[in-house]
């Protein structure tokens, strides 16, 4: 009886696993079928696999251009976020100044302002600064919205660094820049990695800001490209699937390589 229950449980978990994998398998299999084969054989393995949809998505769907745009925005966003949050976290964890806790709470407190709430004035601000339709505008907005969590994460990590270590370095005549670069960054490596992956994922996947800030077709990111081309794609599921697969590939690679770091990042704040 107990063994039977256990078997049923594993079967149920297996079914849920299948439900998470199947959509991706459907996507890949559809992408490999010719339009004609898809109509005749929707759910089976492709008999005559073809890469033509990938090529079409890449050239006619402009996926290559969008991919390059996303890569620029996301890599700059991740780098800048490291710098901005790393500096702020150092001040908040190891420098003494009045109102330190208030500043920390104020930075976290900006989380009450959701993107949708400010999207219109933000858009106007970007136009005034000549930053709309520019990758730099989207990058700055991404870094801004990544700052509260990033500062929180790095501050939590830096606090574990003994104050004596920092003071000893200061006595030895190390500047703040040296302490940051020689002590904080090496010790904080796991936290920086977690933050970087986390930012990569949400910046890569984000739609609303990218959709509104980059309206020029040549500047668009991959998610906007996928979302906007959807209308044309619906006539051809194989082409749509190929486009989706290309768009998902980078995050899938990151998923397979950095699984444990991603999980760590997502649970920060949940378990203290």
């Amino acid at each position: 009886m107990r063994r039977l229950a256990r078997l049923a449980m594993v079967a149920a978990l297996g079914a849920i696993s299948a439900s998470t994998i199947y959509p991706l398998v459907f996507m890949l299999l559809s992408a490999l079928k010719s339009k004609r084969e898809y109509l005749l054989n929707r759910y089976g393995l492709p008999h005559e696999p073809t890469l033509v949809h990938f090529a079409n998505a890449w050239t006619y769907g402009d996926m290559g251009q969008y991919l390059a745009n996303s890569a620029i925005v996301v890599s700059a966003g991740v780098l800048l976020s490291w710098v901005v949050c790393g500096l702020a976290a150092y001040a908040l964890s190891h420098l003494r100044f009045p109102g330190r806790r208030a500043v920390f709470l104020a930075i976290l407190g900006t989380m009450v302002i959701a993107p949708q709430v400010i999207i219109i004035p933000l858009y106007v601000t970007l136009i005034r600064c000549h930053l709309h339709d520019q990758h730099s505008g989207l990058i700055l907005v991404y870094v801004t919205f990544a700052t509260p969590f990033g500062t929180y994460l790095l501050t939590a990590y830096y606090r574990a660094v003994p104050a004596e270590l920092v003071e000893a370095a200061q006595v030895d005549g190390a500047s703040h820049a040296q302490i940051l670069w020689r002590i904080m960054v090496p010790i904080g490596r796991p936290a920086f990695l977690t933050l970087g992956i986390f930012n990569f994922l949400w910046m890569w996947n984000e739609l609303l800001f990218a959709l509104l800030i980059l309206q020029k077709d040549t500047a668009r990111t991959l998610m906007v490209g996928v979302a906007n081309l959807r209308g044309q794609y619906t006539t051809s599921i194989p082409l749509m699937s190929a486009g989706l697969f290309l768009a998902a590939l980078p995050v899938l690679i990151v998923f397979f390589v950095f699984q444990s770091q991603i999980q760590k990042g997502m649970t920060m704040g949940a378990v203290k």
Binding site: F26, R101, I119, P121, T125, L201, L208, A247, A270
Partner: protein, 283 residues
């Protein structure tokens, strides 16, 4: 002191320029009529009066509340699965990895993929027909009765794995003696969950519940954008999506800002709880 100021300056400058000042602008424009081009004209509380009588808005609020009511389900599914994986059932590593897989995908990709899968001629309906349940086949996202429940299920698909990971992290922090002692005392099934697991994980459950509530108000734009556009009719209209339509389809910037202010008030309390949980009430 000078260095602290210098190191905090980039973060502060960004947050002020691109988050705090625009928030003040949004509040001000809530009281104006504005097309985004010509200067805004002050109209007092007219936008809010219009809001109160706007059926689309109330429908969106209602839909948002339906999503909030689904939070216990999203939470419960993750918690049960985390408990099973935590007991290291055969294949638990594989289950953990596959459950987490959807969490890294963009809502754009999830939504587009499911639009194809849930179509009238898609694999879900085909599966039902093969199983002799053809009568249950629907155009899931295009029929008013099924659109919102289907959206809820797609979101569940996208988010449950993250919950599993959060609860697993929580469970690994519970001393194993407590769990074993409870088992030895004969605590099983529901009793075990209700009296041992839930109290031990209280903090984590609160954290995740609050996250999901905030999320259901402010992070579903992309799902609605690619899957339903708020329709059919207003069946899947959410406040954040109505705001987008008013602002960027109809150029009612003032009214959209008022919608934003309403949305802000809806999530304010929950986000404050979120921050409190993150900082643990201490420092």
């Amino acid at each position: 002191m000078v260095f602290a100021f210098l190191f905090l300056a980039p973060a502060a400058a960004l947050l002020l320029t691109f988050r705090v000042v625009p928030a003040a602008g949004a509040l001000w424009h809530s009281f104006t009529e504005w097309d985004g081009v010509a200067p805004a004209t002050y109209v007092g509380g007219a936008n809010f009066a219009r809001l109160v009588g706007d059926n689309t808005f109330w429908r969106a609020v209602l839909n948002n509340l339906v999503l909030v009511l689904c939070v216990p389900m999203w939470l419960g599914v993750s918690l049960v699965l985390a408990l099973l994986i935590h007991q290291q059932v055969p294949g638990w590593r594989f289950f953990r990895a596959t459950f987490f897989l959807p969490s890294v995908l963009s809502p754009v990709i999830i939504g587009t993929l499911f639009s194809a899968i849930l179509r009238r001629d898609g694999p879900v309906n085909r599966g039902l027909e093969t199983a002799g349940l053809g009568a249950l086949a629907h155009d899931w996202l295009a029929e008013p009765a099924t659109a919102l429940p289907t959206l809820v299920m797609v979101i569940l698909w996208g988010v449950f794995g993250m919950g599993v990971i959060v609860f697993l992290a929580g469970l690994s922090a519970v001393p194993s003696e407590i769990l074993e002692a409870a088992r030895l005392d004969g605590a099983r099934g529901w009793t075990f969950v209700r009296y041992i697991i839930v109290p031990s994980l209280r903090h984590v459950i609160e954290f995740w519940a609050v996250n999901l509530v905030v999320w259901s108000f402010t992070s579903l734009f992309a799902f609605v954008y690619v899957m339903t556009g708020g329709g059919p009719g207003y069946a899947t209209m959410l406040v954040e999506y109505q705001l987008y339509l008013e602002a960027f389809q109809f150029n009612h910037m003032g009214y959209a800002c008022a919608l934003g202010s309403a949305l802000f008030l809806m999530v304010l309390g929950v986000v404050l709880i979120q921050i409190r949980l993150m900082t643990g009430g201490d420092d």
